[in-house]
Amino acid sequence: MGHTSLEKIIALQKNPANIRNLCILAHVDHGKTTLADCLVASNGIISSRLAGKLRYLDSREDEQVRGITMKSSAISLHYRNGDQEYLLNLIDSPGHVDFSSEVSTAVRLCDGAIVVVDAVEGVCPQTQAVLRQAWLENIRPVLVINKIDRLIMELKLTSQEAYTHLQKILEQVNAITGTLFTSKVLEERAEKEKEEEKESETLSGDQVFDWSAGLEEVDDSHLYFSPEQGNVVFASAIDGWGFSIQQFAHIYSQRMGIKAEVLLKTLWGDFYLNAKAKKIMKGAQAKGKKPLFVQFVLDNIWSLYDAVVTRRDKEKVEKVVASLGIKVMARDLRHSDPKVLLSAICSQWLPVSQAVLSMVCEKLPSPLDMASERAEKLMSVGARRFDSLPAQTQKLKTAFLQCSSEDNAPVIVFVSKMFAVDTKALPKYKPRPLTQEEIVQRRELARQRHADRMAADQTAAESHKELAHSESMSQESQPTNCEIYCFYFTSQVHSFSHLCQVPEGCSASDCVFEVPHLSCCSMESIYLLMGRELEDLEEVPAGNVLGIGGLEECVLKSATLSTTPACPPFTPLNFEATPIVRVAVEPKHPSEMPKLVRGMRLLNQADPCAEVLIQETGEHVLVTAGEVHLQRCLDDLRDRFAKIEISASKPIIPFRETVVRPPKVDMVNEELGKQQKVAIIHQVSHQVISQVMDGLVTLTTPNRLATVCVRAIPLPQEVTQLLESNSEVIRTLEQINMSLREGKSLDISLRTLEAIAGLKDQLDSLLQGRKWRNAVERIWAFGPRRYGPNILLNNVDSYQRPSVWQCLGRGDKTVEAGAQAAVLRDFDNSIISGFLLATLSGPMCEEPLMGVCFCVERWDVQSSAPAQHQESFEEDSMSHKALADNKVERSSETSAQEEGMASGLGQAERRPEPASDCYGPVSGQLIAAMKEACRHAFQAQPQRLMAAMYTCEIMATAEVLGRVYGVLGKREGRVLHEEMKEGTDMFIIKAVLPVAESFGFADEIRKRTSGLASPQLVFSHWEVISSDPYWVPTTEEEYLHFGEKADSANQALKYMNAVRRRKGLYVEEKIVEHAEKQRTLSKNK
């Protein structure tokens, strides 16, 4: 068959009844691309000799190297079936589980799918997945059982065995369809029951339970694959042959004089030919006879293989060739490789493209007869029923179904995928040969000028390249046309036509009225997708797959484009795999950061499944569906989008630090004695720290002017969670307080006030008990960053400060506080700053604190006095009473005299201090002192590390359940619960897993379960790691139990040291473990 011209295809596009949009789906390595090759070869685009070897649609280099498809690619083919001519828009999809997002995008565009199954391997995990996807999108599948040659050549099955084998595979496939069907029916039924329950509650009279599952009522026979229905093809794409039952029924009905219809029904199944009676009888298996399929079909193929490949019997081959009435070239006959001869014979006898394409044309729907169910499903987002959509939108459905190319119908285009195209591949940049004149002209140019022009050319070329990088392509138009209020809208997509983008996530009714949501975009050019090549088109009629250039500005991943705002955004694509493999990406050269960011933006746009985010730590994180997908994304970034050297690494794992209540028992569950903590007094540089019993830490600033006493208390877990979830409320609370302190009054909306009051009440109810009496009122600040899950409590009896809840409070109190505020502000702020700094980075590994409450028990500040001796600071520091009195006096003074500031609290900071200036301003010292005090108070309590946890949902079949548990156990995961999914044999396991252990988790679990289990990870919460990172055996029992080193499995220590090492902090470990085991020779010997 010759090459199909572009004009022909354009002509064919205009007849939607003869268009078939289809995709090829299968498990990895089941021969999708090989089959696609055969189909492509039938159109003369590639040589039929190379079909199956070239893998024409795998246009990426890494696809060719790895031998797997990594992206879906589309091609338009022409097929003549009898007097009808068809246009096939074929999409080849990848089979690897990492790229199942590509399958989703492909499936959405198509009306039918070819599901390929390997005859040897049978149904594989991805086969299930693709069948499910096809089911979810309501598209009709047909089955191709591929690689039948392997049954002959590799497994050496007899034709009879092969028949039973094929039967089994068919049963497996149908079983999956069956489960999909039953689960859907059960779901519908469950919904119905719910509604009924509601009704029955109201009635609650005589209830009649219907125990039938509802399966009987629904007919499902049309869903299944069976050869007699003509939706199954047996093929060997590599050898280029394939057949459906019809073909053989046709042949034998002529030869044997049996009606073709009878043969069609009996060729597959338990029938045999009674030679004497010349009748087809039932029950071949019971009577030990050969079924018709074996006798008429398989035996022929088997004998052909036997003759050509196994025995290489020249005469027999010639006989066969003659009887089949085909001509084989002498070159093929003489070829030393029998496979060549085989494919030469087979491709003429039973060409696979013929079998598959005719099945496709007959069995798969055209865009015209798309199921109305599907149209409704596409247009109703989420739980909304189609009926509830506005009338205009409902009318679009009829347009959908008509799919004609009249001029005045609305255009609806669904953009399912964006991809980048090299400049060279675009038709307008195709190199064209220079004309003679041009060459002459060039010669005439002087060398100098020539060079100049070259330079200019180069820059121009570069800018072109940039352009093409972001050249995005969208596939599929489902442009429809409908009559609305007697206006005619065009359904033809012209180049440079303007379209609106219907934003995702906003419902159809919004779209009709709220025009600002819409963004307009214009199509710069329209292409016909021909595998790796693109052809320019002027216009595309409805119901075709097409490429659109120049949408990169307005489309992210996928979109719905339409000329009418009444068109609802189509339901989002349902992805089988969610991105879970996280890596941090960095440029090799730090100066190339902007390039990387731009590249990642493009990647995010082009890849349906990749996610890109910038984290607070400054990391650029790339989240992909799997390791292979990750590899492809990185290659893309490197070679296409960013064009820089990049490195990917394990992302930084965050931790939190906290304190817990002192344990009552030791590590071997022995009761701890009533050990009293001995007061430790040590001196750190100029600061004096004393720690007395019960974790109270007292610290004085270097100039001995101020003293703070701080104690750390663990917050109850619920409080931490509450604070964590209410961080927004706390943040607004802080802003309000800030402005109140300045004396400004803010208009606070009632809702925020309610939220704040609610938070306060909740805190009140959670902080119960003697220890927390009145604690909520005394909250001083939250930290880190003023809204974190740590609290600073004001336990200084004599020190009254405006409460953080003052915005809720009575007016009079705020006025009173306002008078004091001016005086308090400076030192109050220093304490808070110190607390914030301490909570931002804890002493264990400089990670933020969480769930810690610091109580300031005592706080003295002296007016400038000569430096005092350490022993006497207790008496020297003013008593609280005096201090408080001072304050009151001072506040009256401020109003009285202008210079009042120059004494007391206010004075300490503002006045130049010649005496104690070597330590800097007091406020600064107080910050440092407070920070140190908090850190020491923290260290005085039992410290623990908190790890971020993922919740992990795993869908797995029963047989791999054990392995899933194995992987979870190895990575410190904990299973919360497992349950069976109704109507299937899948288990749903819910587990928690530390983020620190999650790197490579998804990949490992897939490998270990051969792809039958796929996890989904979502960040859920912080969890205290129970082991103490500083633990060393202290009692005799512990010593016996854990040994001297006890470093066997201290998870917390491992994490802590890893973080410390990463940050360059001191890690307590020996440089060399064994002194004697070092290399003892000196270097020069």
Partner: protein, 249 residues
Amino acid sequence: MSIFTPTNQIRLTNVAVVRMKKGGKRFEIACYKNKVMSWRSGAEKDLDEVLQTNSVFVNVSKGQVAKKDDLTKAFGTDDLTEICKQILAKGELQVSDKERQSQLETMFRDIATIVAEKCVNPDTKRPYTVSLIERAMKDIHYSVKANKSTKQQALEVIRQLKETMEIQRAHMRLRLVLPAKEGKRLKEKLKPLLQVVESEDFDEELEMVCLVDPGCFREIDELIRCETKGRGSLEVLSLKDVEEGDEKL
């Protein structure tokens, strides 16, 4: 008389000598290499893993053991282990290769961590990661000085990095309250020090919220304190002005 020929020359291998001068005498002990620092930091707790032998020498390489009298005179005890511990703690030693290497490595990391903490990418207002800073430091061939503090060196690194990449110290957000009288005059003086003035409110007092380079903080503080004689005030609103939260592209 002994003749030093290559064959009978005994080499001290795997020996690190720790020396201390006390009471006018020099004492030495023989230790294993790469172990003394671990002992001093407290990571190594087994003395036998540190000391080759617990005898105290006058000269380790010659094998001359110190006299008991000298030891008691200098240390006030003749308990050799005790003396060894004292020498270990206070004596001077040659830092061996691995010790130096690990020390420099930690310092390098530490510097990179400090730089990453203090700086942001001016375009995005987000910090750089430590590993990126480390790579940048290697690119500019920064060599760590063991005797300078990491903080000092970090400031030096920031200065050098500015030449090769987009980096900037994260700004501090300050609130300045100046009395009305000096307000105008001071504002002119402050202007060159302030990076961005976010808000300005002039009624009885001049109140300004601004972003400044942390390096200028002292200067501003000084200026305000001296010029207003204690009536102006300065408040740190945030130490680092960075973007918070994750951002999806």
